[in-house]
Symmetry: C2
Subunit: 329 residues, 2 copies
């Protein structure tokens, strides 16, 4: 690899001059600039980012910490983050936390060891010391805490919508699957749904689920029909679980949506490919990722405040696991 010295020698100037043309900083004569530029071309020189990072104490790297990229909601988020970062010449160091604080700490540590300029995290404990003591900006994505920069969608409203719409479509004995307790958006959704159902005076039962994983989804689905065999509507904690519920309902010979209506959360890409296509509360995951990246960049460039939060809209996405609404216009 050619270094800045090689370029300087080749162009017959000093390294300082080369640095000046690379960074477009300070004066440099047009002729010398040309010389330097051809030298750079000829030697295929590209600056060593590590040396830069060492001197400036900041890199063009950001850390992205997600619970589990294999969970279909997160790739969309990640893709949004990556696209926005890529367009702004930032690169991403990526890690999965599995919701484990130990892995999280480990990644946070290596992020700072690598001089990342910022971090995007989807964590259950945004308030821990580990984040507070960081002197780089952190944007919390999806999982979020008040008063910290974050991008999320309104889980409570999502839950409310789900309850309202499934009720409006005639379900009267509803099973609500409650997501993992320590996952804030899951709890928000649950609260939104439960409170709305209560207000509407509609009977519902709660099924606990302790994870969002594909592996366990089938278990929660079976649990639903074991605990509430005659349910005519289920509000699932996310689309994976909803898909599993749909699958189980069909397997039991129930008609969807005639016998049971099902509403999911997230609108992962495959939801529309299910049969029947899944009605769900959509979160704009890709856009959330992009928004988080944009916010982080603003924070890095000090163009945004430290408590900026962005709430994205959730939308009722009507497909065919719910019946047509009863007249309500």
């Amino acid at each position: 690899m050619a270094t800045i010295r090689d370029v300087a020698k080749h162009a017959g100037v000093s390294v300082a001059t080369v640095s000046r043309v690379i960074n477009e900083t300070g004066y440099v004569h047009e002729d010398t600039r040309k010389k330097v530029e051809t030298a750079i071309k000829e030697l295929h020189y590209t600056p060593n980012e590590v040396a830069r990072s060492l001197y400036k104490r900041k890199s063009r790297l950001i850390g992205l910490l997600l619970p589990d990229i294999a969970n279909p909601f997160f790739p969309e988020l990640a893709r949004g983050v990556e696209d926005e970062m890529q367009e702004n010449d930032f690169r991403i160091i990526f890690g999965n936390s599995d919701e484990k604080s130990s892995k999280e700490q480990e990644y946070i540590q290596t992020f700072v060891q690598n001089n990342v300029v910022g971090m995007i995290a989807s964590t259950n404990d945004p308030d821990t010391h580990a984040y507070r003591k960081l002197n780089i900006p952190v944007v919390f994505l999806d999982r979020t805490m008040d008063n910290r920069p974050s991008v999320y969608s309104d889980g409570y409203e999502g839950g409310r919508l789900a309850a309202q719409e499934i009720a409006a479509r005639g379900s009267r004995n509803i099973a609500v699957i409650q997501g993992p307790e320590r996952v804030r958006p899951a709890m928000d959704r649950f609260r939104g749904a439960a409170e709305t159902l209560k207000d509407l005076d509609i009977a519902f039962q709660v099924i606990q689920s302790s994870s969002f994983g594909i592996a366990e989804a089938g278990v929660w689905a079976k649990e639903v029909f074991r605990k509430v065999p005659d349910t005519d509507g289920v509000i699932a904690s996310n689309d994976i679980v909803a898909a599993a519920v749909l699958h189980e309902a069909l397997r039991l010979g129930k008609k969807v949506p005639e016998d049971v209506q099902i509403i999911g959360f997230d609108d992962i890409p495959l939801s529309s490919l299910l049969t029947p296509p899944l009605t769900t509360i959509r979160q704009p995951a890709y856009e959330m990722g992009r928004a988080a990246a944009r916010l982080l960049i603003q924070l890095i460039e000090k163009e945004a405040l430290d408590n900026h939060t962005i709430q994205m809209p959730v939308t009722f996405t009507e497909r065919d696991t719910t019946r047509k609404a009863e007249k309500n216009d």
Copy 2:
């Protein structure tokens, strides 16, 4: 952030000594080691990886380049890579190429600028100059080239299996969806299926598809039933497309698998949640990711040869979009 100098001062020794205890290199008296270790603890010192990387001209970072993390096959791969790397204290800089050579080049460049010690890539052109000139090991994953370190599964055999099994289950007018032409595994699958069908003397028609994306899958699915309305078996280019085909078949009122059998490729996590669950040719994506990471680590540590290739088995995963096999034992 505390530096090695701070630690040295705090412990009343030289930086050299601190370095020795950190890296467990050279002699250091038990007592001084203790002193240094407590100093490290008290100051919460962690070595600056950037400085290390600069001096040693190698980091603990590896580059991972995938076509599109939002395509459900790749998160599994990525997760496998990440888990293995994480366990070996390597971190990942991640990028999506969108199969675009320009993005690919850009990432390769920034990977080397950041001193990555190795790279894992899923690319259509593993043979380009961009890779050949690299002086770090590269493992090609899924998309692969002979004579270069790679991990992939046997697409040809997969195609053969799909054809054989769908034929054994009675399909006689088969639609084979051919994946993108420049994607090698897709072509291998197609060849495997087409040649097998030819050998078996079974009629089939080919539907071209130019991408693996979720967005377009529905288009190819419609195409299938437009071009081959009376087909009784479709071999899809991957599970996404298979899911779309299943969806479309059901929408058209066809019975699956009675009227049409469907076989996919990959076995993405959601395939088993479809109704009916999708029969598919499974690739062990997660294990492939892990294997690629392991191989790369061996290459980095010079424990493996430069042309080491690992072929993973594909397996016929029988679920309910195919009929029970006709007696063939």
